[in-house]
Structures are given as structure tokens and as C-alpha cells.
Symmetry: C2
Subunit: 393 residues, 2 copies
Amino acid sequence: MFNQITPELMDDLTYRWMHLQAHLKAAGADALVVSSNVNNYYVSGRIFMGHAIIPAEGAPLFCVRRPVGLKGECVREMRKMEQIPELLAEVGIRMPARVLIENDELSYSEWTRLAAVFPGAVSGNGSALLRQCRMVKSPYEVRIMKKTGQRHADVISRFPSVYEPGMTDHEWAVEMYHVMLKAGNLGQFRIAGSTMEAFMGTILAGDNGGACSPYDFALGGAGLNPSLPVGQSNIKMEEGMAVLVDIAGNFYGYITDCSRVFGIGKLAQKAYDAHQVSIDIRAAIMEAGKPGVPAEDLYNLALQMAEKAGFADCFMGAQQKAKFVGHGTGIVINELPILGVRSKDIMAEGMTIALEPKFVIPGTGAVGVEDTLLVTATGMENLTPAPSEIITL
Amino acid sequence: MFNQITPELMDDLTYRWMHLQAHLKAAGADALVVSSNVNNYYVSGRIFMGHAIIPAEGAPLFCVRRPVGLKGECVREMRKMEQIPELLAEVGIRMPARVLIENDELSYSEWTRLAAVFPGAVSGNGSALLRQCRMVKSPYEVRIMKKTGQRHADVISRFPSVYEPGMTDHEWAVEMYHVMLKAGNLGQFRIAGSTMEAFMGTILAGDNGGACSPYDFALGGAGLNPSLPVGQSNIKMEEGMAVLVDIAGNFYGYITDCSRVFGIGKLAQKAYDAHQVSIDIRAAIMEAGKPGVPAEDLYNLALQMAEKAGFADCFMGAQQKAKFVGHGTGIVINELPILGVRSKDIMAEGMTIALEPKFVIPGTGAVGVEDTLLVTATGMENLTPAPSEIITL
């Protein structure tokens, strides 16, 4: 592996490779070829430009185009992907007869070029296999997620200190981004899916909480510009508005997701009531979400609780509704499992899940808590333990 | 087109469609199907989730999955891409026999699904055609780029006001990001290529200016974390260090690129000399870069000037050298043309180019100016007219 890696990470990478190799064998494949930044980071502990080749048995090979000078065991310099066969031969790995490559991360052009390096051998979707493995976090990943969640929760407590009456949603957002970056947030908002994007996170004030966006987030917001129509939209924050703040926490390359709601003065009673339902849903899912439980059941539990409380119409959006109440988070903010309609995922120990039961109250705004939760043998643990109540500004 | 669009933008979109249609006819194709955020933004003036279908003749069709409620002429709601044929029929567009889709933006999985909507009809790479068209900016785009460049240059003048002696590179970076965001920068750093990424821009202090990164930027920097190994890396800024600040300007969905150098006290004379060569290269290229000139010639001009001045060894990097001195910029920061080795691009009126002749001086750091330049009939115009000299802090 790359030089100067810690023994802890080295052990963890070995664990991840074994995990991937078990999946590879189950899929009847000889090798997995990784190309994307996110998956290269997963299998090597750092971003590099090039390919990681994980055979179904034995040590992997890392073919590095950039940076120049990256060295280590099983690491070879490479100018272009067409050299992979000769590099495999050099380290004594046989050319795979059945290889998986990343169908969901490689562009069609890149896929075509990489597939030609393994003529006739590409037999399935490596993206799906990697997504399945990454769904359950390794011990090192769990430690980083815990550390990230704690820092994330700590920073959220400082948001009221940079609020000033009369601000727009965006003016406050800029100050919160600043607080986040000063606290060590790397800023990078990694998300899977070629049409998904956002800057650090979103701030939804008042009825903008129900505005529709082109992106597949739980809530939208109109945004500041047609080039990025999501989140805050230069609304003056006024008495009676709920403001939902959803800024991602990425301090070490893993992302925790946590939203909290702030009230500009006193809100309509319905907002407090719906917010309490969100807190209750979180408690119920943390209790029910044990290993072995279908993720869809947890979505249905949330939906039933929202219906029973009389808030079905404003659950997970207004005009445009999300069909999920939670999602895995880790290197990217939208991993598996999906706690949503038609999800086939089953809860397992080591999953880290952003649970976000949210409600849009007309005339007031979006309310509800979002937390990153770790699935343990006995239920879920909250990794982002910031106070849950609506904070009055 | 989408409701509430300005007449100026409507005219401009019509111009872009005509431009695309001319290219489509030249390529012998009947239609172009756009799917990516960036290209949907180019053809419609806003981001939406769905597809724009540009026939070689006649009005386009916009098939919108999200946001809900987006209306306008030639706009249809769509649940899934398999509905495209029926929507085309509704508006009287014949199913194309030769269609281009985005080979470089669609993932292999997305490409396969979209190609099946047009059985046997996908005949070429729509990405390449769109890149060619976007290389030459429309009148509206030029206006936005000018406005962006002016704002960008104005903000740069405020960077020294948030510098404090004893800061690390990242501490200063965070304050400059804050100044940028307060001035209206949207923050979003759009870049083409699945392995390219950065947060807002980079700050390179001292020898970190020569550190190798996995990304294909002109310069690298070690970065703060293995998950994002580019840019500043928590170095204490000390007397004698050059600090190159390269933060993108994205105020309205179009990006200008501009770098300036700051000196912590007095620098080695070689740094001032190399910086002056960069300014001289910019002047020479602004003079020589007329419509019709091959972009590669401009790279060679820069290289020759660097060689003649005795700075060939530190031109465009140290251990890892960039093979270009400039690149188009617009909706994304790395558009065509490329002013580099083996470029086939020819300069044309309306191109907007980030020119960045940079030098890495061992023991001092990176120097050189970067500006966004507009190609006009008589030479180039600087859209980011911030003072060019090294600013002593």
C-alpha cells in the first residue's frame, strides 16, 4: 500500500479488500477494477488518479497516473490505462477472465476505453458491488464517522452566535459556512449521481422549505441562481419563520448529515407539534432499526407515525415529496441503505444512516430533525448529538 | 422555453440552438439529446432534471422530471426517460434516425438506458459537439463573463484585508472564501471530468506550490486531507514565502479564473523575475491570440519565452508539470480551447480563456498571474483586471 499509511488504516484496508473479495467470489468474478475517486479512496485510503485492481484472491495492484512519486508496495506508475495488462503481469496477477468495472461512475467514453483493456472480459457492474460493501462501515470508518459527528454537532451549537436579526437566509448561511470551515470542515460536498450537486448544504427559511428543486434531496429550496436552484434564496428571515439548517459535516473525508431548526421568534404551534413528531419518529426508528430489519419497514413506520399525527400531507415535502426518510452516508452523502419506498436493503450492524423525517408547514417553513445514526447490535446510536428542539433566535 | 425567462436570454438561447443545429447538420445527425446539468443549463438557461431534445431543425423539446411545476412552451413533464418517444410525438417531432447523446457525461449505466430509448439510432458523441459549441461564448454569455470577471477582480483586492501575520495558508484561505461568499460567489466549483474536483479554489504557500496532486490542474498542492489532496495544507506562512491564491469566481453560473501572488515580506529576486516573465507572457499572448491562430502556437510562445528567460525548469510545475498554459472557462472551469501540447483548437472571437503561465521557485513558492481573457477580433481583453504585481503582505 502507499507509504506512510498508519498501521490502523492498513489493517482496515486489508479488511475492506477481504470484504470486496468475498463479494467478488460470490459474483463469480476474477477481479474488480476501480477508477473513480471515491472508490479509489475507499480501497486505498487516499485519492489518486488511476486504477486499483482487486483480484478475487491475493494482493491488489494500484496503477497510479498521478500524483507523480506516489510509492508503496503493490503500487506501480502508469501513463495510460492500456498498460494495465503489462503491470498485472509484472506483479504476477493473471489477466482476469471475468472482470467488474464501475458502470455507474465511469462515463460511457471511459467505460468503453477501459473495457477494451480487458477484451471480452467485462462481466458485470462493479459500482453495485462497491456500493454494497461500502454500505457497512469498517471499524476505522465507524471511528471516523463518530469523530466527524461529534465535531459536526459541536459546530451546530455555534450557529446562533453568528445570527443577526434582519439577515437574509443567505447572509446567515455564509456566516455558518464560515464557522464550519474555521472548525475544519473541508467543504467538499461529495454526492453520488451525475445530476446531484450542492454547495456545502442548504438553509431553508419559511415557505422556501417547500419550494421544488431539480435535485433528489429530501427538501429543495429555490436557490440563489438558475445555475444552482437549491437551498436558500435571499429571503429576509422574519418573525414566525422556521429556518431549517442542513450543512454537511466533512472533516476527514467522511460525511455526517445533520439538520436543526431555528425559529425566528415564536412559530405557529403546528410547527412545534410536527417537529416533535419528527423527534418521536427518530426515537421509534432508533429502537426498531435493528440488524435484520428491512429498511422499507422503517420508512413505513415513519409514514404511519406522520399519518397518525395528522401530518401526512406535509411529510417529506409539499408539492414535491421525497419517497424516503433516510439514506446511508459516508464518503458520499447518499450511500445505501435507502429507508424508502421499494428499498430492498436490510439493516446491518455498522451502517451509518442519515435519518431525516421532515415536515413542511405552509406559512411557517420546514421542521424536523436530521441525524446520522450508527446501526449497532441493539439499535441505533446517534453520532450527531446536537440538541434537538427548535432553537428560538 | 421555461416561463419567466428574460427576452435577452430567450434571444440568446435561440442563438445557441441555431449554433447547435448547424453543428448537428454538419455531423449528419437528426437530433441531440442533452441530459447533464451543465449542458441542460447551456440549452435552457437553468438546471433541471430531465432531457433537452434539440432536433436538427425546428423547436427543441424539454422533458422535465424535476422540479415539479416547471412550465413553458416546448416543456413537458416526464416521469422517466422511456416516455421521450411519446412526448416527441405529442409535439410533432419525428423519432430521430441518427441521434447524438452525451458519451462523456452520461455514466455507462445511464448511457445504456438512454440509448435503448432510441433503438439503433445513437450515432455519435453529443458531448464533443456541445463542447465545440460552448467553446465560443454567445453574446449573453460574454456579458455574464465580463460581469463575473469584474466582480472577481474587485473581491481579490480585499484579500489582504483578511490576512494576519502568523496565519496558516488554510486559515487565510477560509477568510478569503468568506469574503468571496459574502460578495455573492455561489461557491459551486464546476469542473468537467469524473476525476476532477476541488473546493472553491486553492491557496499555495511556499514549497507546497510544487507539491504533486492527483488532479489535472496547472499546479497541485498537497491538500489538507488524503480525501482531497490538492491546495493548501496547513502550512504556517513565513517570511520569504510566495502565496499563490487561485479561487474561482462563480457569481452567476459562469466561472472566471484568476490567480494572484502575495509575498510574505520580501521574496527571493528570482520570484519577482519569474513573475514578470509571466506578466510578459500574458502580454505577448494577448497580442498574438487573434482569431485563426492555433492554440498550440500560443502554448509554444509561452514555453519559448520561459526558456529564453531561463525559467524552463520551473515553468508550469516542478516534479509534475502541466502540458498547457491556458484553457477555456465558462459554465465549467475547464472548457475548450486548450492552449497546450497537441491541441487542435483554433482561436476564435468569443472564446473566454484562463491563461495561467506559472512558475514554481524552490524555497519560495509558486508565482505568476492567471487571468480570464476574452478573444476579440483584434486580440484579447482581460476580464479580470486586478493589479498584477506581487502584493507584499
